[in-house]
């Protein structure tokens, strides 16, 4: 709220200070009109306050509370027990893998789509299918991969006949397998999110580079990549965040045996083994910190990207 008010008064200030007019009335009228203008965003602000910011604040406070309601650092220190801290490691590793896979594959696919020699229909086809794949997630996706790469999955069984074990990429028990599942929506998501940035690349840049003697690779190394890098990293940060936050897919794959942070929080909140809401708050606080770092990185990269792509 405080930010809203300062912003509102700053709208009122630039209004011409009319020296000849009765100085007492003018500014106040200007302020109230400016205030009315800000009233237009009040419903959304209030809504987000109740359903996004207050829960976040509640969580921060509760992370430092004992079940009896007293201040404690016990929840926080409990997070640093090996089991919980390693869950952060697992989540971060999974997110990094998923962002890297999805990011690089998505970049390759997206550049292929916008390449001048690619036929027109390719783009609409790929974006439509990307839209479909990016929306195939959660419980149904988990089941699809269980039936493909799970212990009795179609591909697993087929490879068993060839004498090859696919246990290393079993999505129900390995991080690599889970990353492969996440990639199913991260890869198309990368394509969809990166296309606008690629559309911002001017044809003239490629042609000017060629004209000045650059090969296709040199153009990519010296011009396209430096320009795209902020958008590229920004989008990969979003993919990272998406994988880090994901719960449904992982939970449906590994059940209560999973060791990702999200899965632990779920178990501690509603699990059949142990219920310890205080610890869940502390873990969630940890996740919020990670996400905050990501958002700052995303914001800085976005700002950098918009400097070039105007």
């Amino acid at each position: 709220m405080a930010t809203l008010e300062t912003a509102a008064s700053s709208t009122a200030t630039p209004r011409p200070v009319d020296v000849t007019a009765s100085a007492g009335r003018r500014p106040s009228r200007g302020r109230s009109r400016a205030g009315l203008r800000w009233l237009g965003v009040a419903p959304l602000t209030a809504y987000l306050l109740v359903f996004l910011l207050i829960p976040a604040g509640e969580l921060v406070v509760d992370a430092f509370r004992s079940p009896a309601g007293r201040f404690t650092l016990g929840n926080i220190s409990a997070v640093f027990q090996s089991q919980y801290i390693s869950s952060f490691g697992a989540s971060l590793e999974l997110s990094a893998l998923a962002a890297l896979f999805g990011g690089l594959l998505g970049l390759l696919a997206a550049t292929a789509i916008v390449h001048p020699s690619a036929p027109r229909f390719v783009r609409s086809t790929v974006t439509t299918f990307s839209g479909m794949a990016a929306n195939f997630a959660g419980v149904p996706l988990a089941f699809a991969f269980t039936s493909t790469l799970g212990a009795t999955g179609v591909i697993t069984v087929a490879f068993q006949h060839l004498g090859i074990s696919l246990a290393a990429i079993d999505p129900t028990s390995t991080t690599l397998g889970l990353a492969l599942v996440y990639n199913y929506f991260e890869f198309p998501l990368m394509i969809l999110l990166l296309l606008p940035a690629l559309d911002g690349m001017k044809r003239e840049w490629r042609e000017a580079a060629q004209n000045l003697g650059a090969s296709g690779f040199t153009y990519w190394r010296t011009v396209a990549l430096p320009i795209l890098l902020p958008s590229l990293l920004g989008t990969m940060v979003l993919l990272f965040g998406g994988a880090f936050s994901a719960y449904a897919t992982a939970y449906a794959l590994s059940g209560s045996t999973g060791n990702l942070v999200t899965e632990l929080i779920g178990n501690l909140t509603n699990g059949n083994v142990t219920v310890d809401p205080q610890l869940a708050y502390a873990l969630a606080l940890g996740m919020m910190l990670v996400i905050s770092v990501l958002m700052v990185a995303y914001y800085l990269l976005q700002r950098r990207a918009s400097r070039w792509l105007r």
């Binding site: 509640e58 999955g153 179609v154 996440y182 809401p277 969630a284």
Partner: protein, 278 residues
């Protein structure tokens, strides 16, 4: 045409450069296609399998699904929540987006940022924070309608971005001035002029919202509401073939929504299409 031309040197190079690409491309396209299609084929195969003698079970599991009264009740619960979420989202976001574009344009970058927040705030974190806050309000906390309010937050990035793109495309300032010049109030400008022009953005954003609300698992499961995805999950704990059949149904529903979105989007700008909760 080109074959007749005497300018052979110009055309000689191109086939040489292009001959590599199709093979190379074809390999990657096939690999990507396999990656995306095989899990779906496996899923479908599972939904027809499960007989001890190894023969196809046909539509047995689908019949089982449709015979289960819990299927219908969870499905309609999800539909109801989805429609309520759409209505609430539109009521909240359409006037706000309009107002920001018309009167507070410098809030636009702020909104761009705010609108991605729910995209990265983990649902599990949000719900862990919401439970202690909402618990005292039993009249809402115990009813499935509580999900409407929470889903609006998660649908916001998609609906807002869709509206934002739509508003950018219509030159709102001029439209609003022209409308005011004809004597319309701001409110009637919104209803009579802006909303009809934003139709495809609103419909597109609504489809995405439906997709989110229909697929959301984390929150409804932690609040113990038996929505459609929770139902699928629970079936999966016991009968995997039946769960596969349900997953196929859910997949077809999502695709139908996406195709509808595509058809709507053809009229105007297509917006980025990702909405599922993961």
């Amino acid at each position: 045409m080109a074959a007749l031309s005497p300018a052979a040197p110009a055309t000689v190079r191109r086939p040489r450069r292009r001959r590599h690409l199709p093979l190379w491309h074809a390999f990657w396209i096939l690999a990507a296609a396999a990656y995306f299609i095989v899990p779906i084929i496996s899923l479908v195969q599972f939904s027809f399998g499960g007989r001890v003698d190894g023969h196809s079970a046909g539509f047995h599991w689908y019949a089982t699904v449709f015979a289960d009264p819990n299927f219908a009740s969870s499905f309609w619960l999800s539909v109801q929540i989805a429609l309520e979420t759409v209505a609430l989202s539109i009521a909240l976001l359409v006037p706000t987006a309009f107002w920001i574009h018309l009167r507070l344009p410098r809030l636009r970058p702020v909104m761009d940022f705010v609108s991605v927040l729910p995209f990265v705030v983990p649902p599990i974190v949000l719900i862990v924070g919401l439970i202690p806050f909402l618990q005292p309000f039993t009249f809402i906390y115990s009813r499935p309608e509580v999900l409407d309010f929470i889903y609006v937050v998660f649908a916001m990035p998609f609906l807002y971005r869709s509206l934002d793109a739509g508003l950018r495309a219509i030159n709102l300032q001029t439209l609003a001035e022209a409308s005011a010049n004809c004597g319309a109030s701001t409110w009637s400008t919104l209803i009579r002029v802006v909303v009809p022009n934003l139709r495809s953005a609103i419909i597109g954003g609504s489809f995405l919202t439906v997709a989110i609300a229909m697929g959301e698992f984390t929150i409804s499961s932690l609040l113990s509401f038996n929505t459609f995805p929770v139902y699928i999950f629970n079936i999966g704990q016991s009968t995997s073939n039946e769960a596969a059949a349900l997953a196929v149904i859910s997949l077809l529903l999502t695709w139908a929504l996406m195709i509808a979105l595509y058809v709507v989007g053809r009229g105007g700008r297509t917006t980025a299409q990702m909405a599922a909760t993961r």
